[in-house]
């Protein structure tokens, strides 16, 4: 554990990049329409040739603090900086309208910091046990885990199970394009040599996420007209915000732990964590009638969960190479230029690096919380940046990433075709997260399925461990979906009432 801290502090480049990543990540969170995925995608071209430790620390710090930065526009301007921030906007912005904006920002920053640290502690506690536990997992279990990761994602993506599964199947199909590794057969290439190497992840993910978002931002180009708030009574409000966290310490801890659990389950994401904890905060509050009108618990719960989720989602991502969320899927892709391929063998061989990442996660969260309180004035100005002027740059950065990953200009054509599908998904409210989960899990699912069939035959599904896993996972999916629906109903009732 201390090896990681020593490794982190003995690399000046890693430390500098961690400090640099925090404001960059916060800015990406603070500008509505960007967010963690676009942040990772934007820095990807600059990672090539970077030292592995420094690059990993940079990426993890960048991604960890996005939600902390997103609190500024969400609370001060009522514009959610990221998707999960929508759970904060109601009470956070109501507090601003009540004259408690800085108080809400402080509470959000401290809750985010605590959430991030709790997430890191949980990750640190899991690391020693996870390694030996993961060694017990064989091909059938990996296959079932990948299937259920996809199933969870489709189930909870909010647009209907059928649509979620269709999108997941599309992701899987795209993952199978190119040369099959065991028999060397070229699949789904339609005799086009551009597809012989497969459709790389960078092209697929950028086309499905970054470009459709920019198409939408470009269409709805507008600059926030909200006035910049005066910095009156700042210190008094900061003290009140800190006191709110002390008063609601158990809620902060509970929602932090809930965030970690949501993060560990592959396929769930920040939206689920944030709304689950908003519902829990409303349900457990002594004054549920205040929700939607400026209840600080409505800020603390989702903010703590947003950041703690990152620690949890690193468990399946680093140990199994199975991304805990769509953001983690892009994180996995961003690790490729650094020569990092997460999985059990990676963790075994790079224990120091893993611990360095754990420490970076904790430190960057603390740094981000302090920065948010100190720079709340600057961040609210950044939220007024006309995002539509950034659109052409994001297109160029996306194309640069695609060209670096493929070294073939024809992938620009693939990008346009896939962007059309991605944009249709976005406009028609189809979920996109199952696509990227399917894309990442496809090769892993296929390898484990074929090897399971070769070793055990179809009976691999009847092995006691497999049966136990199927029963456990089905039960937990059922419970989780029921609980989520209940919490979502409570949250919706409060929104409707307000």
């Amino acid at each position: 554990m201390l090896d990681g801290l020593i490794a982190l502090f003995s690399s000046p480049l890693a430390l500098v990049l961690m400090v640099v990543a925090v404001p960059i990540g916060m800015v990406f969170g603070a500008i509505p329409g960007l967010g963690g995925k676009i942040a990772l995608i934007s820095v990807m071209p600059f990672l090539i040739g970077l030292d592995t430790l420094a690059g990993c620390v940079f990426l993890i710090s960048l991604h960890a603090v996005v939600h902390t930065g997103a609190a500024a526009p969400t609370i001060l301007l009522g514009i959610p900086g990221t998707g999960p921030s929508t759970a904060v906007v109601l009470d956070g912005h109501s507090m601003t309208k009540n004259g408690d904006g800085t108080r809400a920002i402080t509470a959000a920053a401290i809750a985010s910091g605590i959430g991030g640290v709790v997430g890191t502690i949980c990750l640190a506690l899991i690391v020693p046990f996870a390694l030996s536990l993961m060694k017990q997992i064989s091909y059938p279990e990996i296959f079932l885990l990948t299937l259920f990761g996809l199933g969870f994602c489709a189930l909870l993506s909010g647009s209907g199970l059928v649509k979620g599964v269709i999108v997941g199947c599309l992701g899987l199909t795209i993952a199978f394009v190119g040369k099959e590794t065991t028999y060397g057969v070229e699949r789904l290439t339609f005799d086009l040599d551009v597809f012989y190497g497969g459709i790389n992840l960078v092209t697929a993910v950028l086309s499905m996420f970054a470009i459709p978002e920019m198409l939408r931002v470009g269409r709805k180009a507008q600059i926030s007209q909200t006035e910049i708030l005066p910095r009156a009574d700042v210190f008094r409000q900061i003290a009140l915000g800190a006191a709110d966290i002390v008063k609601h310490r158990w809620l902060t801890l509970r929602t932090s732990v809930m965030g970690v659990i949501v993060g560990i389950i592959p396929g769930l994401g920040g939206d689920v964590a944030a709304w689950l904890c908003y519902g829990h905060a409303a349900q457990s509050s002594d004054h549920p009638e205040k929700f939607g009108k400026g209840a600080v618990e409505g800020v603390i719960g989702p903010e703590a969960a947003n950041n703690s989720k990152e620690g949890g989602s690193l468990v399946p991502t680093l140990f199994l190479g199975i991304p805990g969320s769509s953001g983690m899927a892009i994180f996995l892709i961003a690790l490729v230029p650094l020569g990092v391929s997460p999985g059990l063998s990676f963790v075994e061989q790079n224990n120091g690096l893993i611990w360095a990442m754990v420490w970076a996660l904790a430190l960057s969260n603390i740094l981000a919380a302090v920065t948010l309180v100190a720079l709340s004035g600057v961040l609210q100005r950044l939220a007024r940046v006309p995002v539509h002027l950034l659109v052409p740059y994001v297109y160029l950065l996306a194309m640069a990433s695609i060209y670096i990953a493929s070294n073939d200009w024809r992938f620009f054509v693939v990008m346009i075709a896939m962007s059309a599908i991605g944009y249709a998904f976005l406009v028609l409210d189809w979920p996109r997260a199952p696509f990227v989960i399917g894309l990442i899990l496809g090769p892993e699912a296929e390898t484990s399925l074929v090897k399971s069939l070769s070793i055990w035959g179809p009976e691999f599904l009847l092995r006691p461990v497999s049966l136990l896993m199927i029963a456990t996972l089905l039960f937990s999916m059922h419970r989780m979906s029921r609980r989520l629906m209940a919490h979502a109903k409570i949250a919706k009732d409060h929104i409707d009432a307000s």
Binding site: V162, L188, L396
Partner: protein
């Protein structure tokens, strides 16, 4: 907006069907996983199309495809075309210049567009080429 509920699953179903037809030519070990993915996808697309087609009243939809979407997509296509033909430094700068010029309103839009465009070759040459030693695509016409 009834069509929007039919067109997307129909297109996806078509993609799955083509892929499934292609997969049938392979040995089972190679065809199993993609066959399952495409098969399940195709069946569900058919289910969705039939469900939407049978719906008596048009379902409410967030879809509002129109000229705005086509315009946005044209910017992306223009950027890709210019980069393909003239490379990142010149084609990219040109695409940024044109897009900012059209999108930006106000007195100083030509100057703003020129400054925004000038940043592109500086990044492509200064950061990518000199600092990171990465040569980005030079373009079909300039190679």
């Amino acid at each position: 907006m009834r069509h929007s509920g039919l067109v997307l699953p129909a297109i996806l179903g078509f993609i799955f069907a083509i892929c499934l037809a292609e997969i049938l030519r392979y040995r089972w070990e190679v065809a199993l996983a993609p066959g399952l993915a495409c098969g399940i996808g195709l069946v569900l697309c058919v289910v969705l199309v039939v469900q939407n087609a049978r719906a008596r009243a048009p379902r409410p939809s967030a879809a509002n495809f129109g000229k705005g979407d086509i315009a946005q997509f044209s910017w992306l296509a223009l950027a890709a075309f210019l980069v393909t033909m003239l490379g990142f430094a010149i084609g990219g700068a040109l695409s940024v210049f044109v897009q900012v010029l059209v999108v930006r309103q106000g007195k100083y839009r030509i100057i703003t567009a020129a400054i925004c465009a000038a940043a592109v070759p500086i990044i492509v040459i200064g950061v990518f080429q000199e600092l990171l030693q990465i040569r980005l695509y030079a373009g079909h016409l300039l190679r």
